[in-house]
């Protein structure tokens, strides 16, 4: 790997842990470069699993299969822990990868955080 690459454009914008819910807000472009940051964060959450993890993707401008791979891995870890992983705010720009990969049937997808929590 080329060294000296700073990660100035972080994709994890915000993490809120309340009661037994973790809400992770991710932003920007999730590709082979930036998905490692997301993976690290989701693995850490899985170490100490909440009843549900909600990933808010409303400010994600791009996601490729590297991002999808991270989400699938996280989904499998959550299932193993009997906890839930929910996706929120999938916008037009990332919808097509969900459709092409038929992931819209595998993930629990909601329009808003509140809807996801109470579902």
């Amino acid at each position: 790997m080329t060294d000296q690459k700073n990660n100035s454009n972080n994709i994890v914008k915000n993490i809120i842990r309340r009661d037994d819910v973790v809400i992770l807000q991710i932003v920007g472009e999730i590709d082979m470069h930036s998905s490692t940051e997301l993976r690290g964060e989701l693995l850490e959450i899985s170490q100490n699993p909440p009843a549900q993890t909600i990933i808010n993707m409303s400010e994600v401008d791009f996601m490729d299969s590297s991002g999808v791979a991270v989400l699938i891995e996280a989904l499998q870890l959550h299932r193993r822990n009997s906890s839930q992983l929910k996706l929120v705010g999938i916008n037009q720009r990332v919808r097509s990868i969900f459709e092409i990969s038929r992931l819209d049937t595998i993930f629990e997808i909601y329009d808003s955080e509140d809807e996801a929590i109470s579902a």
């Binding site: 790997m1 590709d31 082979m32 470069h33 791009f62 490729d64 999808v68 699938i72 037009q92 990969s101």
Partner: protein
Amino acid sequence: MDQQHPSKNLIELKINADPFYLCIVRKAVQRMAELVGMNEQDSDSLILAVDEALTNVIQHGYGGACDQQIIIKLRQITPGQKEPTGLEVIIRDFGQQVDPKTINGRDLDNIRPGGLGTHIIRSVMDKVEYTPQPQGGMQLHMIKYV
């Protein structure tokens, strides 16, 4: 490619085989898609397909050796007698050669991380042609019509 107009509405990029540079190529593809008059939805999937193809070169063609080179050519296809308007994308690497027939994704019903790239590329692009090059490496020739 473009014998007659060597540089008319053609962009060429040379990058290292490093995921760090993918965002630059996506920006270039986005701009070219705009040029050929693609709508936003088609442009988004085109950007995705090119990104997946490059990710594959980085991962499989070069096995993660980030100092190797990838050449990307983007060319506007102007509507002619035979073809509609579109965008031609050529990706050239100098890495491992593979039989194009072996480039296939996983069964979509067998959910696991990975194995989606080629599905995406084939479902988005109107033409997808992998060719091992006599001088070494692979060339991927893709077209998406508007």
